[in-house]
């Protein structure tokens, strides 16, 4: 048995240790696991390091989707209607993926003009527009309220 004060000390000590551990883990995990979002216009303006993992969002440009010979690789362009960027993706595209649809891709810049995606997000129904994409379109001055 021990005095309440001593016990409180243990409790506070334990709490602090646990919290400290959690904070360390969070800082460590934040260092390289935050993924920033860019619009094609932002990418055109500011060059980025190639190894940085990023997200790019916009509309799939009409007429840009090309299937490669291997049946798995797809090339398309993502546009915010003022700038666009070429994207390569190997894998099965989400069933909602199509031209003119708002999508977000995650991956790496191969060169300032081409992006290699390892993930393509196009969930939800056909009226859905990822908010980042809507924002990017608004900033590029191409947003039409009728889209909503």
């Amino acid at each position: 048995m021990m005095a309440p004060k001593r016990r409180r000390l243990y409790l506070v000590g334990g709490g602090m240790t646990s919290l400290g551990l959690a904070v360390c883990l969070v800082i460590f995990a934040f260092q390289d696991n935050l993924v920033f979002f860019y619009s094609p216009s932002e990418l055109a303006k500011q060059p980025l390091a190639a190894e940085q993992r990023i997200r790019v969002g916009g509309l799939v440009q009409e007429g840009s989707v090309v299937s490669e010979g291997d049946g798995l690789t797809t090339r398309f362009r993502i546009t915010d209607l003022s700038e666009s960027i070429a994207v390569t993706y190997t894998g099965i595209l989400p069933s909602l993926f199509r031209e003119g649809q708002g999508v977000i891709v995650q991956g790496y810049l191969q060169s300032p003009e081409s992006f290699v995606a390892d993930e393509v997000l196009a969930k939800h129904d056909e009226n859905y527009m990822p908010p980042e994409v809507a924002e990017a379109l608004k900033q590029s001055g191409q947003w039409k309220e009728s889209r909503d």
Binding site: N33, V35, F36, F37, R55, S95, K123
Partner: protein, 663 residues
């Protein structure tokens, strides 16, 4: 007409909730029994009227009454009946109505089961419940009324999102809400106790069953959601650390901590203020989850609403509830005298550590979920926090927790003998090491984290079995003695052990399916064989199909085709014309060893089809584990000591007198 009755019933229940929120509170303060008794009548009336409102809306869905805007937007006459009914809560307005219905059900349950509660405590609990109901009912009525009419009446509705037309998802929201809203009872008890200024073992005994109910339902609700994501989204994964998933996971983590700290509070009369705080935090996280999911702050398949007024309303409500209750806690908590003393190495100490780890985990999930929102709101940039963050943070926090769960049964109250603990765990440790050695041998060259996880799972599982064996004197006493010992072991002990076995299953499933999953992505020709971690998938081609409200293509794979027990897999791509929406239906064959999982892609120019084939080892153990955990909760609940008051009638009678003299 029926819809108008429902609308009026909803308005009536709001006014009743206003009375229920004030009269019993005043009555409890003045010691006026008549005013306090209003609370019980009001709670039952509220349940009655909200049920009418809910049934009225259900009627509108079943009869496809498209004059209601809500029905027209979310239903369709050609939809199967199950989804017409599930469609009631498959949208923002209806799901809120379900929320208040469950809240009222819990309120009525407090009246029904709480006959032995001290009258002042009961009155205050019902009043706090009513305050929550006022918030949600006015939110429903003023910003998201399901009974709004539409003119002109459309010929047919827009239909339910095909992704949601699924039996797993039909029952996901009710279970999740039973969990979320169930924690409101623990919250109300906490607030009532703070107002009374008294927390004792009896209080904890009243709170625990409600927490157990809520926790068990939430566990099942989350498992259903994850199962749905696994087979419906077709990505082969079962948890994506998506903000909407985190929204339900945070209350679960805090609720699990609450469940454990309430034990200390009940058995040892310690950790009172902490338990109260956890009750507040758990329900606040439930509210935060509702806010995140319902306000449109996060966009996902859940975000039905993007009306800013709704977001502002829930946010304001959240601020009032969280701010108010924490302020009350700050004023009253210092008065709560803590009772039982214990040394750091003891069952209490173990449970404290459990609580610290669980709340730290909840805090890191909260941070990872809210950080992108803050960054966005401050205009610094747009970021996303993905699975790597959560995995980095979670594995180190959960590892000691699971180790602790293995030791838990051996630790004694007040003070445990560390050397004795080592001695008793020796046998478990040896068996675990054997499992680890076997796992290393089998999976040599792959990730060591996998072996760590399997070792942890074995540690908990074997620990539980050895503990149960020791309790009943298996192999030591004669069978009849062991049996009678087993009969006399309290149900709550069985509950704990079953829940911990569930944890062992869960850990094994999570570990194996993330460490040793095989994914093959390629274009297949008819007749071609693809090998996926030893399983030979043969592709037989694709045919056109026509469903009740969709059309599509169905592929055909067989696995181990020549043997007698060949497995046939039929992945589909569907197209729902009403919503103009395609969906992917994965084909899954489940076994103890793991799941075979096939997804059909697109045809290529040469007549082949792209396909994704997976082997997910032990993945079904995840949902089995969650079910077993919930079962553990149910067994614990059936312990007669938890039946509020039953064996403690005399004690609670005493408590009544004491309270009465206090007032």
């Amino acid at each position: 007409m029926i819809s108008e009755i429902g609308h009026i019933a909803l308005i009536l229940s709001l006014t009743i909730a206003l009375v229920q929120g004030t009269a019993p509170m005043i009555g409890a303060a003045r010691g006026d029994g008549q005013l306090m008794a209003i609370g019980k009548t009001a709670a039952l009336l509220q349940f009655f009227f909200i049920s009418i409102a809910f049934l009225a809306l259900m009627n509108a869905y079943v009869t496809s009454d498209f004059s209601l805007a809500n029905v027209a937007q979310n239903s369709h006459s050609a939809k199967p009946m199950l989804y017409k009914i599930a469609g009631v809560w498959g949208n923002h307005e209806g799901s809120l109505l379900l929320w208040v219905l469950i809240l009222a059900t819990f309120g009525a349950a407090v009246v029904f089961f709480g006959g032995n509660l001290p009258p002042t405590l009961c009155a205050r609990v019902l009043a706090v419940q009513a305050f929550i109901a006022v918030g949600f009912l006015s939110f429903t009525l003023f910003t998201s009324n399901p009974f709004e009419r539409l003119f002109p009446v459309p010929l047919d509705g827009n239909g339910l999102n095909p992704l949601l037309q699924d039996p797993g998802l039909a029952f996901h929201p009710p279970f999740l809400y039973l969990g979320y809203v169930g924690f409101s009872i623990a919250f109300s008890f906490a607030i009532a106790a703070l107002i009374e200024g008294r927390v004792d073992a009896a209080w904890a005994r009243w709170v625990r069953p409600w927490t157990l109910v809520a926790w068990s339902f939430l566990t099942i609700g989350i498992a259903l959601g994850s199962w749905w994501a696994y087979y419906e989204l077709g990505w082969g994964g079962w948890w994506f650390w998506d903000p909407v998933e985190n929204a339900s996971f945070m209350p679960w983590l805090a609720g699990t901590a609450l469940l454990h700290s309430a034990i200390v509070c009940e058995k040892r009369d310690a950790l009172k203020a902490w338990t109260i705080l956890l009750a507040i935090v758990t329900f606040s996280l439930s509210l935060l989850g509702t806010f995140l999911v319902r306000s449109g702050v996060l966009t996902s398949v859940h975000a039905f609403a993007t009306d800013p007024a709704r977001g502002v309303f829930i946010l304001a409500f959240l601020v009032v509830v969280v701010g108010g209750s924490l302020a009350l806690f700050a004023i009253r908590a210092p008065q709560l005298k803590s009772g039982g003393l214990f040394s750091p190495v003891s069952r209490e100490g173990g449970l404290v550590l459990n609580n610290l780890l669980l709340t730290s985990a909840a805090a890191t999930v909260l941070l990872g979920t809210l950080y992108p929102l803050f960054v966005d709101a401050l205009g610094i940039g747009k970021i996303s926090v993905g699975p790597p963050y959560f995995n980095t943070v979670f594995i180190p926090l959960m590892t000691p927790l699971v180790v602790l769960a293995g030791i838990a049964p051996v630790l004694t109250w007040k003070r445990a003998d560390l050397y004795g603990v080592f001695l008793r765990m020796k046998f478990v440790a040896i068996l675990t090491l054997l499992v680890v050695a076997w796992c290393l041998y089998e999976t040599w060259g792959s990730t060591f984290l996998g072996t760590l996880g399997i070792g942890l799972s074995a540690w908990v599982g074997i620990g539980v079995l050895v503990d149960m064996g020791a309790r009943v004197g298996l192999f030591r006493d004669r069978i009849r003695v062991s049996l009678s010992k087993a009969m006399r072991t309290p149900r709550s002990i069985y509950g704990m052990n079953v829940a911990h076995i569930g944890l062992a299953f869960l850990v094994a499933g999570i570990t194996a399916s993330s460490a040793w999953r095989t994914e093959v992505l390629r274009v297949v020709q008819v007749g071609e064989t693809v090998s996926v971690s030893g399983y030979e998938f043969v592709f037989h081609g694709v045919e056109k199909i026509q469903g009740p409200n969709y059309s599509g293509e169905r592929g055909h794979f067989s696995v181990n085709g020549d043997t007698r027990d060949a497995i046939q897999l039929f992945p589909e791509n569907r197209f729902y014309p009403v919503q103009q929406q395609p969906t992917t239906e994965a084909a899954i064959y489940t076994s103890w060893r793991g799941d075979l999982y096939a997804v059909l892609g697109e045809p290529d120019a040469q007549g082949g089809w792209s396909a994704r084939l997976y082997f997910n080892p032990l993945v079904a153990w995840i949902w089995l584990g969650a079910l077993v955990m919930a079962l553990g909760g149910a067994i614990s609940l059936s312990d007669r000591r938890h039946r509020v008051g039953a064996p403690h009638r005399i004690m609670s009678g005493k408590a009544n007198n004491r309270v009465a003299t206090n007032v």
